[in-house]
């Protein structure tokens, strides 16, 4: 599809999309029934005072529309996504709301999304000129990227009869990491199933046993000084240790499996990766679909593996 055609279709859809959504609350439904009743009564009897009451009721509906529009018209929203949400675990969705002028009351904020839309943040008052962060607790049932298109800001102000909503287009992506499960049992064979590769390195600054003491040279790290021996001998001595064996493990993933099975595998791999990383191993990931994370260690690397597992089986960007 050409870019021009895409633009045209987007504009066409926007043209037909109502600018505001209006939902009647239970109290609003009763109010409307009463209004219709009073209207019928006025028509039936010709009683002018009933017409007056009817006029008041109808004008209250109009006023409700005007005041609620003042609340949502100029509102600006910034989405604040959580860093590492896990599937089936509650996490905070947050939005920064701001009004250049005026003020808004009784606001509720949610994502226009079939899953994330159930998480609603509420705010009693939004003054002008300052950003207020609204949070909501959400839970994602499955891992994977969620494409968020818009944020829906609603208000029941002023009378609670109607809930007026405005959808603010705000494209974004929420990457839900695999859910937490107990790590699978250790494989019997180091290479069985999960593909393990080990190697032992010897280095002078490792974390293994004490190898020797020698004099500290210029420019060397003072944190390596063995202070007790240095004090005994009167010269600065530094510690040299054997390097600790660092297992290097590359996890293998078959991402051609059906979605539910793939979710389970990813969660198990995630649990395994986290366990191994916590033990100090260098962990990598390779999948049949071409996803590849080089072995590494540390918290940042853990996030990289979890993100790769979250995207496994989902087309689009990786990493």
């Amino acid at each position: 599809m050409s870019a021009r055609r895409e633009r045209f279709l987007r504009a066409w859809r926007r043209f037909w999309k109502p600018p505001r959504r209006l939902r009647t609350t239970p109290a609003g439904r009763t109010y409307l029934v009463l209004t219709v009743g009073v209207g019928l009564g006025a028509l039936n009897t010709g009683n002018n005072l009933l017409y007056l009451v009817l006029g008041l009721q109808l004008s209250l509906v109009v006023v409700s529309g005007i005041l609620s529009e003042r609340c949502v018209r100029r509102i600006q929203v910034r989405r604040l996504l959580p860093a590492s949400p896990r599937a089936r675990a509650p996490f905070h969705l947050a939005w920064g709301l701001q009004l250049p002028r005026g003020q808004a009351f009784a606001l509720s904020v949610r994502e226009v999304h079939p899953v994330m839309g159930s998480a609603v943040g509420q705010l009693a008052w939004l003054p002008a000129g300052e950003e207020v962060v609204v949070r909501a607790v959400a839970t994602a049932p499955r891992r994977g990227p969620m494409q968020l298109s818009a944020v829906r800001v609603s208000t029941r102000f002023p009378f609670g009869l109607f809930e007026k909503s405005r959808d603010l287009e705000l494209p974004g992506e929420l990457l839900v990491l695999p859910g937490r499960v107990p790590p699978p049992p250790e494989p019997r064979s180091p290479t069985g199933g999960l593909g393990l590769e080990q190697r032992s390195l010897r280095g002078q600054d490792g974390g293994g046993d004490l190898a020797q003491l020698r004099e500290l040279r210029d420019g060397e790290d003072a944190r390596r000084i063995h202070w007790r021996k240095s004090a005994q001998l009167g010269t600065l001595l530094r510690v040299e240790r054997d390097a600790q064996p660092q297992p290097r493990i590359v996890l293998q993933l078959d991402d051609r499996a059906p979605p539910e099975a793939l979710d389970g595998t990813c969660e198990q791999l995630a649990a395994r990766a986290e366990l191994l990383l916590a033990r100090g191993a260098e962990v990598g990931l390779e999948s049949t679909g071409g996803v590849s994370v080089k072995p590494g260690a540390g918290a940042f690397h853990s996030q990289a593996i979890l993100r790769a597992l979250a995207r496994a089986g989902h087309p689009g960007k990786t990493g």
Partner: protein, 669 residues
């Protein structure tokens, strides 16, 4: 906490106003009023004992069953029963634990009560209650909606009340506009007659006039009828007699009349119409409470009577009851008709035959012998019937005092008035004059009706306190009106500031009835024609139209001024808007050809030392818009002004740069 208390207070007061809208009709049973008032007082005091919803619901259900049982045995009107049910439900909700849901329920049931009030009452007080209910209800509901939201701190009350106040104003104006424009295409299948509101009818004509008792009517300020007179006398206070009924038989205590009843008709002629007649369009209000029609002295024709229902009018038939009294055939609380009188003519020939003349000369049996002697004394020196009548009239006016405080019933009230107390009210004066004239062989009778009339909105209002009695005597072949009551006591008694206020209220009430309660499809079409400027104007109505147009112009000007003030306030508010600041700076820089590449503020060519204010403005714009450092009140305007002054000292950059910049987009916009 303070907000919650205020919200409950406003809610409860709104419910009270809604109940008052019903109660002013006077049709709500006293026990229901007592129950609601107790509930309201308890709620306002913060006592809400009905936390057990089930028990109170059962009690409420029982009460409602009893109410509708009363309807079944025809002890209670169905509409009144519905209103009572709404009031009981509101009372129960007022005393329940306050929640957002309870508040919604109170407001909705209050709305039902207001609608019930609209059906039961046509009083101006209803409008007052409606306005109070709308204002308090809107404020309470708005506060409740904000307080219900769990997130974040609650706003200061003033911040919420400001938009809600705007909402109240818009709602009231809107309701008025919708009321005027909503097409009056009524089916009229269930119209209900409006009652006389609180107090009921206050005056009326009985079959007889009995002397004695206290003159309470004289201090009653309620308007009983209004009249539009053509030709318009133009005076604020009318010194005129409105004839109701004539009495020619006196038994010593009570006056009565006899006569042959005429056939029902659309019009009744009481005499030969003269050349110059005064036309009156008379509106007997529900407070009048009688079937006797009144007209300016001396009426010669009554016609076109219509019984006014809430939304329509029905032709009413009238008849002559003899003794020159005209009555409605059936009862009606609100009647309009036309009357024609020969007002201003002094010499009216007597209309009756000889037997009636004889009756007007009869004296009561057992008349106190001192009375003929007194008549002779008072008439001493006067020659001719006319002079005698005038002399006795003057003697009574000057020799006797006016009072409303009478001891009650006495055996011979006339003798008591003339010889013992020497004080009385208009009936005593009229009776004394008529009897004294009869002792001098001058035929006389007592006439009861009203005296006076107060101008309001181009017509004359007559109050219950204007009720009066006087005498018609036949002298020299003509009817002569005589009034022995001292002139200052003929109309309603003065009642000070309260009376003045009441008079203004009554005038408003008249306008309310005219322009709201009786607003019709015809009025709507006239309104549309007036708006289109196609209304046919006579010279007489042109002045009134002009005055009305001036009023409309003043109202429009006031609205325009309010709009301008709102606009200015809005602009003032916008001076703190960073987007607006960026837009204005961009405009200034574009004019000077100094915008950055692509027409953005970023990269604007403002490196010169003299352009520091412009740089400051751009920096503050960025901070305010993206750096969470909002502009202070008025800061935006100051920055723009300084930037403008700084840029004025510089020559605009070459035109080619300008063209390049104009093609770009404005970053701030």
């Amino acid at each position: 906490m303070r907000s919650a208390r205020l919200q409950l207070l406003l809610r409860d007061l709104a419910a009270g106003a809604a109940f008052a809208a019903m109660a002013i009709s006077g049709q709500v049973p006293v026990w229901a009023v007592v129950v609601f008032v107790i509930a309201l007082v308890l709620a306002l005091a913060g006592r809400r004992p009905l936390s057990d919803g089930r028990l109170s619901a059962v009690i409420l259900f029982g009460a409602v069953v009893l109410v509708y049982a009363a309807v079944l045995v025809e002890q209670l009107d169905l509409v009144v029963a519905a209103c009572v049910t709404a009031s009981l439900l509101t009372a129960q909700r007022l005393l329940s634990r306050p929640t957002g849901r309870t508040t919604d329920q109170v407001q909705l049931v209050s709305l039902l009560m207001v609608a019930g009030g609209a059906v039961l009452s046509a009083d101006l007080l209803f409008a007052l209650c409606l306005v109070v209910y709308a204002a308090l209800g809107v404020l309470a509901q708005g506060l409740s909606v904000v307080a219900e939201v769990p997130g974040g701190p609650l706003p200061p009350i003033g911040r919420v009340l400001r938009p809600l106040g705007l909402g109240v104003a818009l709602a009231l104006v809107g309701s008025l506009v919708l009321f005027l424009l909503f097409p009056r295409l009524s089916w009229n299948v269930a119209a209900r007659r409006a009652g006389a509101s609180l107090g009921g009818a206050t005056t009326g004509f009985a079959d007889g006039l009995r002397l004695g008792g206290a003159g309470l009517l004289k201090s009653n300020p309620r308007v009983v009828f209004r009249a539009r007179i053509d030709p318009d006398p133009g005076t604020d206070g009318l010194d005129a007699y409105w004839v109701g009924r004539r009495f020619d038989t006196f038994d010593g205590v009570q006056w009565s009349s006899a006569g042959r009843r005429g056939p029902p008709s659309r019009q009744v002629l009481l005499g030969a119409p003269g050349r110059k007649l005064v036309r009156q369009e008379i509106d007997l209000l529900p407070a009048y409470g009688s079937r006797t029609l009144v007209a300016l002295d001396t009426p010669v024709r009554f016609a076109d009577a219509e019984s006014q229902q809430t939304t329509f009018s029905v032709r009413a038939e009238i008849y002559s009851s003899g003794a020159r009294e005209v009555r409605l055939v059936g009862p009606s609380e609100h009647v309009t008709y036309r009357a024609f009188s020969t007002a201003g003519q002094d010499r009216i020939p007597p209309e009756d035959a000889a037997p009636e003349r004889t009756r007007r000369l009869q004296l009561p049996k057992g008349l106190d012998p001192r009375i003929p002697v007194l008549a002779e004394t008072l008439a001493e020196g006067a020659v001719g019937d006319r002079a005698v009548a005038r002399q006795i009239e003057r003697a009574l006016q000057s020799g006797y005092a006016y009072t409303l405080e009478l001891p009650g019933r006495v055996k011979d009230p006339l003798a008591d008035f003339l010889f013992d107390r020497r004080a009385g009210h208009c009936e005593d004066f009229a009776t004394a004059l008529a009897v004294l004239l009869r002792t001098r062989q001058i035929p006389a009778r007592v006439v009861v009706g009203f005296h006076g009339g107060e101008r309001a909105a181009g017509e004359y209002l007559v109050r219950a306190g204007d009720a009066h009695a006087w005498v018609e005597a036949e002298v020299d072949g003509y009817v002569l009106r005589l009034d022995a009551t001292p002139p200052q006591h003929r109309s309603a008694a003065g009642i000070g500031i309260a009376g003045w206020l009441l008079a203004r209220w009554e005038a408003l009430q008249i306008r309310w009835l005219d322009r709201v309660v009786e607003y019709s499809l015809l009025d709507q079409s006239q309104l549309v024609q007036r708006i289109r400027g196609r209304s046919g104007q006579t010279a007489g109505t042109a002045r009134a139209e002009k005055r009305r147009d001036e009023g409309a112009a003043v109202a429009l000007a006031a609205l325009g001024a309010a709009f301008l003030v709102a606009l200015l306030l809005g602009r003032r508010g916008a001076s703190n808007d960073p987007v607006e600041l960026g837009r204005r700076l961009s405009r200034l820089l574009r004019r000077g050809g100094r915008l950055g590449p692509g027409g953005w503020l970023d990269g604007a060519r403002v490196g010169e030392a003299e352009l520091a204010p412009v740089r400051e403005g751009i920096a503050r714009y960025r901070e305010a818009r993206f750096g969470r450092r909002p502009l202070l009140p008025g800061e935006g305007r100051r920055l723009v002004r300084q930037a403008d002054q700084a840029l004025r000292g510089f020559v605009a950059l070459p035109l080619r740069d300008l063209g390049a910049q104009r093609s770009g987009r404005d970053h701030a916009s």
